[in-house]
């Protein structure tokens, strides 16, 4: 990738319920943290890229650019995207094209203000025909699990292990979030709690299998290589960034046991980055449910189709802080994932990038992972809708 964009700063708010804060206040907080760290001022920014999935619906807030301009006294170009990854890709493109040298990407969502209608909104925007048929956000994940079990003929002892593996994903993500002061849930849960929640629900997945709804904001500052040299000695490069799309109607897709968009995006991203899949050590997955984390390991190519649950189950028998897949270490969702860190849609991708950025710079504090091999590459997978869009970003350091 020529003229590699460089992340020079990242900041975020705590995820969770922020009923006392207006959406603009949240993004202000994230920006302040990122800019303070990078030693930058507002006037240094040449453009802003903002993302939110449905602030227009949840907070009746249109023209976010105007709010931000008013708040920041900035009059630079501002553009709007639906996901943090989309905004981030646009920013990368602009920097690569040489249009800007320093831009801000901000993500924001405030879902709890509309908690009573949020599931209707999510379904209607993400998969209207399924909504009309009576689908719920949770049902899609459960159907994917049922389809997975059927397709790969998983039964008996193996089925038990798969269900345990999914529970362990949630337990693992909660464990990771204990060390993340910005996480929505900083508490330990047990496999038994996850299983009990499923029993109470009498459904394949229970409350501990799903990411919550959250408020929060994230900010990432991106610079051209030349400008970055003046700001930081520890650049984290964007080596590859790609996305792909798939049908809106989940049941109509050819394969319902994974996400085509992820499979296409990772292929292109790896090619641009010029690295091998297994060079990646740090991975932030989009675990809206435990099933999503499992199938994403397969979609990205870390596990064979139909086998990820085995690797997870075995890794979690005696969890050492990483998934061990074919003898190789993979650090997954170190910030707690969407499950425990939180999932404010438009800001989520920013939290994922924030985590990889911090880990690669060795600034992740208590969460900092260490490996026998030097930590060099990280990867972020963000999905939109129920896999309607898949974004993969690959980051690396010198």
């Amino acid at each position: 990738m020529p003229n590699r964009p460089v992340i020079v700063g990242a900041g975020r708010t705590k995820f969770g319920e922020h009923y006392e804060k207006q959406p603009e206040r949240l993004i202000e907080e994230a920006w302040l943290r990122a800019s303070e760290e990078a030693g930058l001022e507002r006037k240094d920014l040449e453009a802003c890229y903002i993302s939110d999935y449905f602030l227009l619906i949840t907070n009746k807030l249109g023209l976010e650019e105007g709010f931000l301009s008013e708040l920041t006294e900035l009059h630079v170009p501002m553009d709007f995207a639906r996901s943090f990854s989309s905004a981030f890709s646009n920013a990368c493109n602009a920097i690569q094209a040489g249009k800007y040298d320093l831009v801000l990407i901000g993500g924001i969502e405030k879902m709890t203000d509309r908690w009573d209608k949020i599931r209707d909104d999510l379904m209607l925007l993400g998969d209207p025909w399924s909504y009309y048929a009576g689908g719920t956000p949770e049902a899609n994940h459960e159907l994917m699990l049922r389809a997975y079990i059927k397709k790969y003929g998983i039964e008996g002892e193996n089925l038990e292990k798969l269900n345990l593996a999914l529970a362990q994903i949630s337990v693992k993500n909660h464990l990771n979030a204990l060390k993340n002061e910005c996480a929505q849930f900083q508490r330990k849960i047990t496999v038994e709690q996850v299983l009990e929640a499923r029993r109470i629900a009498r459904r394949p997945l229970g409350v501990y299998d799903f990411a919550p709804i959250s408020d929060g904001a994230t900010a990432v500052i991106l610079a051209s290589e030349e400008t970055a040299r003046k700001i930081t000695d520890e650049p984290v490069y964007v080596l590859g960034s790609s996305s792909a799309t798939d049908y809106l109607t989940f049941p109509a897709r050819e394969d319902v046991t994974g996400f085509l968009a992820t499979r296409l995006a990772i292929g292109k991203a790896l090619k641009t980055a010029g690295i091998n899949l297994w060079d990646i050590q740090i991975l932030e997955l989009y675990d809206q449910s435990t099933v999503m984390e499992m199938v994403s390991l397969e979609d990205l190519g870390f596990c064979e189709k139909g086998k990820a649950w085995k690797a997870i189950f075995e890794s979690c028998q005696d969890y050492k802080g990483y998934y061990s897949i074919n003898g190789r270490k993979l650090f997954v969702n170190m910030n707690g994932g969407l499950k425990a860190d939180g999932n404010p849609l438009g800001a989520t991708g920013g939290a994922q990038i924030h985590e990889v950025f911090k880990q690669l710079r060795g600034e992740a504090g208590e969460r900092q992972v260490t490996s026998d091999k030097e930590l060099k590459y990280g990867c972020v997978l963000e999905l939109e809708g129920f896999g309607t869009k898949g974004h993969v970003h690959i980051f690396g350091r010198d």
Binding site: Y132, G134, K150, R202, R203, P251
Partner: protein, 502 residues
Amino acid sequence: MSSEPIERRVSYLGDRLRGRRCQICGKEYFEIRDYCGNCGRKSFGKMADIDLFYEKGRLEICTLVKEPTNKFTKLGNYIYGIVSFHNGKIRVPGRLTDKIIKDGETVDFSTLEGREVVPRFRRRYSVGKSDIIPTISLAFTLADEYYPHQEYVVVKPNKEYEAPGIVGYGAYTSKFRIKEGGMERAIPFIDEDAITAAVEAGKLALIHSGVDNSLIGKVYVGSESNPYAVKPIASKVAQVLKLGEEDEDVQGVDAVDTEFACKAATSMFKDAASLVNYPKLGIPYVMVIGADNSQAAPRDCPGGELDLFVGFGGCAYIFGKTDVIAEIEGWYSCTSDTPDFWRRDGEPYPMHGGRFTGDPAYFKHIRKAAKKLMERLGLQPSDINYFVAHQPNVQFPVRIAKELGFKEEQYLPSLQVAKFGNAYSGSSPIGLAAVLDIAKPNERILIVSYGSGAGSDAYTFITTNQITEKRQRQKLTVRYQAENPYLEYVDYTTYRRLKLGM
């Protein structure tokens, strides 16, 4: 507030599941597409229509929804999953309807997955009282239980008749019942109403008649429980069943609702017969439907006495002059202004006029109509094989049948009220359907309806040879629906909840 343009689009595509198939590569799509994603521009104009309305699908995978999105909360718990058609070439999301899942009940999904399902036309979800009622066919019923899959095969007519008559019919009621005081009464599932029952009955009539749906020139729907004060049921029936010639999204058919309490449908039999008999009009077939989710106030409220008798169901008749199964021999109607039963505009439940019911109303009009018609045709009770009367309860039709001189074997076959309850506009038509289900050729049937307000229509029909030929086309006979092993009996609270609907 639902958005009307979106509502119209969803209804157009979803009420009768439509798709397209690429005639080059064979790929199939749910929804209308003008070109194939695989073949691109060369496929333009080569996409064939797919109609899934009369097809059966397979429930591939499913899960339980206990916490639905807001508009679905009235449904309670339900099974939701992915349904495939054409060996998986088309896959759609779907809700399993006609299934009550109690709180605390555990569902073994593997007992449902892989089973055949039939798309049903149902209400989609709850909306505000002033909104358009959204409907869809992404609701499915298990095909191996109460509602079997039936193909719709258009049969070329082979015989012209002198007099018009019934060419085909269909009676429909749901699989839910309440059992009280020696009566079983049909209850709609929560997503059913008079509109869905009318469509269902019409669908069954098309299947039974083998008549080409595009040749139906007019459709009448008689009902007193249309969920709309203004907006016909008949337009929905015409659109969903594609009656008349289809031109873009408009059906070349006349459609109108009629109202005269319980005789709103039978009154139109003669109009239907006249239309198909009128030379140069070019209307080969006319459909008449009587459908009601019979209304009654809760038991302890004014008008609540009706709550012991009301049922649910629809019955459709197709009139024409080809391949007739029962020719119309004669008719007689009478009317008087009698306030025995009414419902004021804006009121949810009808009121009942106490002493005006019975002698000055039901008995007087049925007696008059039956006697006049028999007199005109010179018939004695012994000339009539079957007598069908309106059935508000068990006692009334039995009493009038006896009074008119009919014996048990003449009136009992039509007596369905103890199985279905009073289906209002569908009541005597369902009685007639029960008789047509079993009648032999060359038998005479006398039907006398009654509508409060008040009036009666009497008709005599004479069955033809073709009645037995067509019988095999209909699995959902009246008897099948009355004696089905999959009937589900519910308590009074559930009955009121289902009846009130979404």
